[in-house]
């Protein structure tokens, strides 16, 4: 396998009928490894990003009923995020997500790790936002601040339109 030419691509879908963003991405890892990379705070801080930002974990209890809080910073700018771990299961994490800049907004995120065998796992991530406006603001905030939380693409829809 050629590592440079075989990057797995993120596939994103913004549901046209519900304020939901769905995403899938394959990884060369077992579900257990992927779970660890999502629940071990040191590992998580290394990849959650975005590029060029340092993530500092302030609070972290990745168990059912636990909570999390971190800040992403660059050049004195800091963006805070917090939420609760509603459920941390074998191959599933259900959590809430709030950007401190919009404290009234909350998304419900469900991550599922599907074992594809041969050491590969497919991540299914779904974010349910509380309104279409909320989802679209997230899309917009991704443009303005580089905070890459929430995912959206209308691949299927755009394809339908063309």
């Amino acid at each position: 396998m050629n590592a440079t030419s075989n990057r797995y691509q993120v596939s994103i879908e913004a549901d046209p009928g519900l304020p939901i963003i769905r995403m899938t991405r394959d990884f060369d890892a077992t579900p257990a490894q992927l779970m660890r990379a999502h629940t071990d705070p040191e590992l998580f801080a290394r990849w959650v990003g975005p590029n060029g930002m340092q993530t500092k974990i302030l609070d972290w209890d990745a168990t059912t009923g636990g909570r999390w809080r971190y800040v992403a910073g660059r050049d004195g700018e800091e963006y805070g995020f917090h939420g609760s771990f509603h459920e941390v299961g074998e191959d599933r994490i259900v959590q809430t997500f709030t950007f401190d800049g919009q404290p009234d907004g909350v998304a419900l995120e469900t991550l599922r790790f599907e074992d594809l065998g041969d050491g590969r796992t497919r991540l299914h991530a779904q974010s349910l936002v509380d309104s279409f406006e909320g989802r679209d603001q997230w899309l917009a905030s991704g443009m303005e601040t580089g905070v890459d939380e929430g995912y959206a693409k209308l691949d299927a829809l755009i394809a339908e339109l063309r």
């Binding site: 990057r7 994103i12 279409f132 406006e133 443009m143 959206a152 829809l157």
Partner: protein, 121 residues
């Protein structure tokens, strides 16, 4: 594109009939009557859909006297596609960082495994 316009675009496209109309307008301009033709709905109902699409900036109607054909504003689509692609790209970058972390985890697990094997032999 402002956030509220993006919201209007998403909301406008949430309806399957309007998506269908947009798909037809992508082929070429059409009048409200022509758009109403394949549907079992009144011209008035189609006019309402067109108004939603117009308010979202997706469709414009020229002042061509009687016909007033509807025209798809393709650049609004291009903008939306760019926003979403930029977003997807950020997710992609994040998961490429995760790829790196996972590769290091595999490396650590292997060296631990070897050490254990070495100790056992």
């Amino acid at each position: 594109m402002a956030v509220d316009q993006l919201s209007r675009v998403f909301a406008a496209l949430a309806d399957p009939t309007r998506r269908d109309m947009v798909a037809r307008l992508a082929v070429g301009d059409a009048t409200v009557g022509e758009l109403a033709d394949p549907y079992d709905v009144s011209v008035q109902a189609v006019s309402k859909h067109i108004k939603v699409l117009t308010d979202a900036g997706l469709v414009s109607q020229t002042k061509d006297a009687q016909r007033r054909p509807c025209h798809l504003e393709a650049e609004v689509f291009d903008l939306m596609t760019k926003w979403i692609e930029r977003y997807r790209q950020q997710a992609q970058e994040r998961y490429e960082r995760l790829d790196t972390v996972l590769a290091e985890m595999r490396g650590e697990e292997q060296s631990t495994h070897h050490r254990e094997q070495g100790a056992a032999s």
